[in-house]
């Protein structure tokens, strides 16, 4: 008898445990129920990479990974009974995304965008499969220009990085804003995705990184002393025309101090760089004046 009761007790305990597990799940409705009312949104998610979230996290719950438990919402149909990241404040909205996307957002907290209430949903639309990276706008650059409208003009300047190409259907150039900046937060200033501005420039312009025999010391400190990487009305993305740019620092000789005419060799063509070719520094024993 005791044995029989014990067996029943074990059976009940096992069933209770199993039922409890199901009871925990009962706060969640499941994607099929979401689909009944939100067919398009569910279809969007199920045809993008978020439908695979469970391969990274077995606890992922489809729609309810971001929107929270939806059982009550399916009963009441009320918006306040479900989370909508688009309607949360920026910190809460971003927290929903960062809970999974923690790897790409190591420096998000306190970053310039976070501080100014620019959240993940300001730029990304998880239900939008029309654009790369689920951006709300057609491209990275268009997303940035939405707030940084003044930067658009730089791409059209006389000298600039190849940021746009209108001959293409998508209008995209060989580079975009995110080749230098990481909008998700970085360890450096101005959201530069490197330890410093120069370290970022050296990723493509490797030839200027090494120490050389005769240094132009302003160069190793910051490329921005002479260049504007967003574009310039002058050649080589210089912030001002030679010789005037050089004369903002150099006064120590005679020809350095010339006022200059248009056809002076100190002004025409490359200005000071007509002779001083190695303006970034030289490793030649004869390169003391950065000419060799």
């Amino acid at each position: 008898m005791v044995k029989k009761y014990l067996q029943c007790l074990i059976a009940v305990i096992v069933l209770l445990l199993a039922t409890q597990s199901m009871a925990e799940d009962s706060e969640y409705a499941g994607d099929k129920k979401c689909r009944r009312c939100h067919k398009d949104a569910v279809t969007d998610i199920q045809t993008n990479i978020h439908s695979k979230a469970s391969y990274w996290d077995a606890q992922a719950r489809g729609c309810e990974s971001c929107h929270g438990p939806g059982k009550k919402h399916t009963e009441t149909k009320l918006a306040e009974d479900i989370l909508n990241p688009a309607r949360l404040d920026s910190e809460q909205a971003s927290a929903q995304c960062v809970s999974c996307h923690d790897k790409g957002t190591r420096h998000w907290a306190g970053s310039p965008h976070d501080a100014m209430d620019v959240s993940c949903v300001s730029c990304h639309s998880v239900h939008n499969n029309d654009h790369d990276k689920m951006l709300s706008k057609s491209s990275v650059d268009e997303t940035c220009f939405g707030c940084h409208a003044e930067q658009r003009a730089f791409t059209l300047k006389r000298s600039s990085h190849p940021l746009h190409d209108m001959s293409r259907a998508d209008g995209e150039g060989k580079m975009s804003c995110t080749d230098c900046h990481n909008p998700h937060g970085t360890q450096a200033e101005a959201l530069i995705s490197a330890n410093s501005v120069n370290d970022k420039c050296y990723e493509c312009h490797q030839e200027f990184k090494a120490p050389v025999l005769w240094e132009h010391s302003a160069v190793k400190e910051s490329c921005l002393n002479c260049h504007n990487p967003h574009g310039s009305n002058h050649e080589m993305m210089l912030v001002a025309k030679e010789p005037r740019l050089c004369q903002q620092c150099h006064e120590q000789g005679r020809h350095q101090t010339i006022a200059g005419e248009e056809n002076s060799f100190f002004v025409t063509n490359r200005g000071c760089s007509n002779c001083h070719a190695q303006i970034h520094g030289s490793n030649h024993p004869g390169g003391v004046k950065l000419k060799r």
Partner: protein, 764 residues
């Protein structure tokens, strides 16, 4: 066990298994493959600078091109993707990825970027080893018929050179960057990623560089006329070969758990320059000269040296600290080593040192720089929400550039374009600096609509170079953000920064710069004010307008020479309007204004033995830089599901002005080289227009027509005045008896029409 027990056990087991299985069961998926491809037949018609039209692109004139190719497939956890752009052209790219979600991924990519310049003219012919040779007979003719370098060239002699250059080679100046990369990332356990990658980038091609020399009729600064002691310039633009390769190896390990994470990475970079130097003949000189300042018959320039670098980085963070805090730390150390062998003092065998020995074979004081730079980067950030509606961030950042390269005692070198030995004791500078920033910012939210941020920071830069200043910059700022309505966001910010110089520098500047009293603007004492404004309006569901403005004003110490002040205004407005589901309009306007003033003083030719202390030689320049850009785009569905149209226009106009004036001109005292002359404005204008129509025969198949027009005009006296030979324009300031041979490879105006017929197919 009896039958009853078995039944109980069996029932319980079945129920448990069913419950457990119901939670974990996943239906097996079918393989899903989607993709699209677009091919184009293209034609380009250019009037003007074709290289300018294709500055960073290629193949606009190809008869056929694969513009875009995408393929994506997935089955359960397995996936692959492939994307290609402009396949077969010099700006092509290909990206591929395959993997299993949550387990591993393998990425491979190939990317090419062209850089095209206008063709240049050059007198030499490229021979082995990157040596641009001019036949001796040509050098002899030019040396004999062209003017000796210490005399004024006659018009007839100049014509000899000009006629020779008319038949000189046309050099195709272009560069090509190609990058191939592969990366493997796998996840051995949940929350851990291990990655390894390799990339190889090559740059090949040709670029023009300019190098020159000069000659002084008299050495020293006494009793002469004209500028620079008859400072005659002789220069030449030369095509330099580019052939370098960068290899990068990356290793990474990332791990995160609950509230903390650790990321480790290692990067090794190897830069190899296969064209370490460029050597070229001087077309105007055949016979080697010694101590004849003003040119060598043979010249050699050193290109970027090989180097290696190793970078170790660690980033870690922990959240969930008291007061809702989070701490993130980054530590990174990069060691860069460079030990390229020095070239000889000179390639000109005629130059003799002070002892009468051939400088070209004189032993060097060291075989290489033994370059060794170590950069250490530390970034510490503490974020906290100690009180409701309050956020505080404390940041410490340090970037230390430590340079252990050799300081070499030089007792002389070959100068003035390899024609003259300079006997002097000199040590090469080995610059180092450390930049440290400490910043605190706090944000308080007044309800849901108003947010106030205040920030304070101090940045210190310590430099080791005896000519360099140490700086401290204190800055203070505040930003207020107001959600005036659900559809209106306003943000205004102000920051003030005060940069000062350590007292020691002032004493040093008086010693080394006192007689010219100039300052380096990147180190100078400066007050900077910055004003930012942003207005974002979404007054209707289908209308959004954004406006932003940044104003920066810099004031320098105007008691010294150099840059005195600078201000810039950047503003932009962006509008998006969805007239309907099938019609969207967007437009923008932006303006940039940069103005600066600098003061300079020319050294006197006649007064005080070439002294600096002649205030009548002062001149000032106001630099102005303005850019206006505007554009619009219209996207429309003309026939639902069938015909779409996209129109866009960009227009940009840039203008740079140079207003130079003498501040204290006195005839007879103000030297000729200090006399201010007007410079023409530099104006550039860019217009782009695109019209695109796509007709969808089915959901998958479409054909399209694209027309793209681009026009670029540049008026820049600095390049417009350039020809292959610029010789002694009469009366040009500073040009007495001077000559320059240019490649004349400057981008010019163009007017181009591009047409493409496209065929696109999407499959799934």
């Amino acid at each position: 066990m009896n039958k009853g027990n078995l039944l109980t056990l069996g029932a319980v087991s079945l129920c448990s298994c069913a419950l457990l299985a119901a939670q974990g069961l996943r239906a097996e998926e079918e393989m899903v493959v989607t993709g699209d491809v677009r091919v184009a037949v293209q034609n380009l018609d250019v009037d003007g600078d074709a290289a300018g039209v294709e500055k960073y692109r290629d193949g606009l004139d190809d008869s056929a091109a694969v513009e875009q190719f995408d393929l994506w497939g997935s089955k359960d956890a397995f996936y692959f993707s492939l994307e290609g752009r402009d396949l077969g052209q010099k700006d092509q790219s290909l990206f591929g990825e395959v993997g299993k979600y949550g387990q591993y991924k393998l990425k491979a990519s190939w990317d090419e970027v062209p850089r095209n310049y206008a063709d240049g003219t050059y007198a030499g012919t490229l021979t082995s080893g990157g040596y641009w040779a001019v036949p001796n007979v040509v050098q002899g003719i030019l040396e004999q018929n062209f003017t000796p370098l210490d005399q004024q060239p006659s018009a007839a002699n100049q014509r000899v050179l000009q006629n020779f250059l008319l038949t000189a080679n046309k050099i195709n100046l272009e560069q090509q960057r190609e990058t191939g990369a592969i990366e493997l990332m796998f996840t051995p356990v949940q929350n851990m990623d291990i990655s390894a990658g390799y990339a190889r980038q090559t740059k090949e091609g040709m670029r023009a560089f300019s190098t020159g020399s000069y000659r002084r009729d008299k050495l020293g600064a006494e009793n002469f006329g004209g500028v620079g002691e008859n400072f005659r310039l002789y220069g030449q633009e030369v095509p330099g070969l580019i052939d370098n390769e960068t290899q990068t190896f990356d290793l990474g390990l990332d791990y995160s758990r609950d509230n903390w994470f650790m990321d480790f990475s290692y990067r090794y970079v190897d830069f190899a320059n296969n064209q370490g130097s460029v050597t070229w003949d001087n077309p105007l000189l055949l016979i080697g000269q010694d101590n004849e300042q003003g040119g060598s018959p043979i010249n050699r320039l050193d290109q970027a040296p090989d180097y290696e670098s190793d970078t170790f980085s660690f980033t870690g963070g922990i959240a969930g600290l008291p007061l809702r805090s989070r701490f993130t730390a980054t530590f990174s150390r990069d060691q860069i080593t460079q030990d390229d062998d020095f070239l000889a003092y000179t390639v000109n065998p005629a130059v003799l040192d002070a002892d009468g020995n051939i400088a070209a074979t004189r032993p060097l004081p060291a075989s290489n720089l033994d370059g060794d730079v170590e950069t250490t980067f530390v970034n510490l950030v503490l974020n906290s929400s100690p009180l409701p509606r309050t956020t505080v961030n404390l940041r410490y950042k340090s970037y230390d550039y430590a340079n252990d390269s050799k300081r070499i005692d030089w007792d002389g070198w070959v100068r003035i374009a390899e024609t003259d030995w300079k006997e002097a004791d000199y040590v090469n500078r080995v610059p180092e600096y450390e930049k440290t920033t400490l910043a605190l910012d706090g944000t308080y939210r007044f309800g849901r609509k108003v947010k106030l941020k205040a920030e304070i920071s101090q940045e210190e830069i310590d430099r080791n170079d005896h000519r360099a200043a140490d700086n401290t910059e204190d800055s203070y700022g505040a930003t207020i953000q107001i959600s005036a309505a659900d559809w209106a966001l306003l943000r205004f910010g102000y920051r003030f920064a005060d940069r000062t110089i350590d007292g020691e520098y002032i004493a040093e500047i008086e010693q080394s710069h006192g007689w010219e009293e100039t300052h380096m603007f990147d180190m100078a004492e400066r007050e900077r004010q910055t004003l930012d404004a942003y207005v974002g309006l979404d007054p209707m569901d289908n209308l959004s307008v954004g406006f932003n403005l940044t104003y920066i004003e810099d004031e320098y110490n105007d008691k010294v020479y150099g840059l005195h002040d600078a201000e810039s205004l950047l503003m932009g407005i962006d509008l998006n309007y969805w007239l309907s589901d099938s019609l969207q309009f967007s437009a923008y306007y932006s303006r940039e204004d940069r103005d600066s003033t600098q003061l300079n003083r020319t050294k006197s030719d006649n007064t005080g033995n070439g002294a600096f202390e002649v205030p009548e030689n002062d001149w000032a320049t106001d630099l102005g830089d303005t850019t206006d850009a505007l554009g619009f785009a219209l996207d429309a569905t003309l026939i639902p599901d069938k015909l779409t149209m996209a129109l866009s226009l960009n227009y940009s106009m840039g203008e740079a002005t140079f207003d130079t004036r003498n501040t204290d001109y006195v005839a007879g005292i103000t030297t000729t080289s200090a006399t201010a002359y007007p410079w023409s404005d530099v104006e550039s204008e860019m217009t782009e227009f695109k019209a695109e129509f796509d007709y969808y025969w089915t959901d998958q198949l479409s054909t399209g027509f694209r027309y793209y027009y681009t026009k670029f005009d540049l008026d820049d006296f600095a390049v417009d005045n350039v020809s292959t030979y610029n010789g002694n324009p009469v009366g040009a300031q500073g040009n007495a008896s001077s000559h320059f041979i240019f490649m004349d490879a400057n981008h010019n105006d163009y007017d181009a029409h591009f047409v493409a017929l496209t065929l696109a197919y999407a499959f799934n």
